[in-house]
Symmetry: C2
């Protein structure tokens, strides 16, 4: 069986978990305290990051490279559209969330509030938290603008771009940092993706010391 | 003709320039002071980053998404290998350089020494410069370890992974931050890639206030 070394709230791990589940690939989840730099783990991934996926005799790191590999090796159900232009838009949005959204929002809210405590780096920096809380509004508005024109984020079909965005938002939702009242279309999009069977494992996550809010795993939030 | 909005020393722009040149796609280069957030530029790319490529009636951002699009639309000469496993290794290394190397080295050396001055953010933070100078040694050793087993970084053929790595290293070489004496195989690899016609435009770059060292555009460095 495939094995994923992960951290429950990491958006990069969550996007791999979601895509594995959509493609009905069974996986054993192993929590990895990557910040402790265990030598065995460093052997698996010299970049010392999660996720690390063991599958088909391979050990792989870098979440976006993993998703492209999964799409090529396990093409059903397709989570990438046909056509270079449509595929570009999916990859652009993956970059948007994993780079821009991650820098401006995820690292400023999730990493300040949760990761710093878990890894023993201290208390949240309120300046960062404030900046993240401000930035997420613009990002939700950008998503709303996209979803006003499209059924899914990158076009008319559901793709890995949706799972990438949902991976970040679900982790922030776990700490109540997403204002779902800001946009009806964004809330509808999240409700659709949250109700997929692939989302169940994510909604069952529990991080010691950080109980999720009641709405977190409520499909009717 | 295609047009690229860029900054000369940006590794993300350089990798797009290199791939365009390898594929013999003519491009007009337009320098973009993206940090000034000019409204016209923000309309082209709401992420306010370079590179932005206008080609075939499209306006595109996110360098890795652009490279994948170029490979699909302009497949000759191929800069991605065949086979999911080989392609995974290329994408893993692109992630390695654009994320890990960028965070640990490029942002600590190039951005401290050059970008801060150009964008008016002040002086280099010597703690960051020291950390970057230390980290680049490990990265050069990792490249040496890869190149001991392989002709090119991701395997036996030249790929976008080589151009991604060369984009970062060439920008750091412009400010004399690469110790080419550290590894013979890395130096040989860079000499091979530096002597390609696609590299000429990069070697001709001149940033006002930062004259390149003499060895920078010397093919026999």
């Amino acid at each position: 069986m495939a094995r994923l070394y992960h951290v429950p709230l990491s958006p990069f791990c969550r996007k791999v978990r979601l895509v594995l589940a959509e493609k009905k690939i069974e996986v054993e989840l192993v929590e990895e305290r990557y910040w402790e730099q265990d030598p065995d783990f460093l052997r698996r991934n010299p970049a010392a990051k999660v996720p690390v996926l063991k599958i088909d005799g391979k050990t792989m790191a870098e979440s976006s490279a993993i998703l492209e590999w999964l799409e090529e090796k396990y093409p059903e159900p397709a989570l990438m559209p046909k056509g270079a232009d449509a595929r570009y838009e999916v990859r652009r949005l993956m970059g948007w969330f994993d780079d821009k959204f991650h820098t401006e929002v995820t690292s400023k809210l999730l990493y300040e509030r949760v990761n710093k405590k878990i890894t023993g780096e201290g208390f949240p920096d309120s300046k960062n938290v404030k900046a993240g809380a401000k930035a997420i509004k613009y990002h939700l508005d950008y998503m709303a603008w996209l979803l006003d024109h499209r059924r899914w984020l990158a076009g008319d079909v559901m793709t890995v771009a949706d799972f990438t965005a949902a991976a970040h938002l679900s982790a922030l939702d776990y700490i109540s940092d997403v204002d779902w009242n800001r946009s009806e279309v964004v809330k509808d999009w999240y409700a659709k993706i949250k109700s997929r069977p692939a989302f169940r494992s994510i909604l069952a996550d529990q991080v010691p010391g950080f109980p999720p809010p009641r709405h977190y795993n409520d499909l009717d939030f």
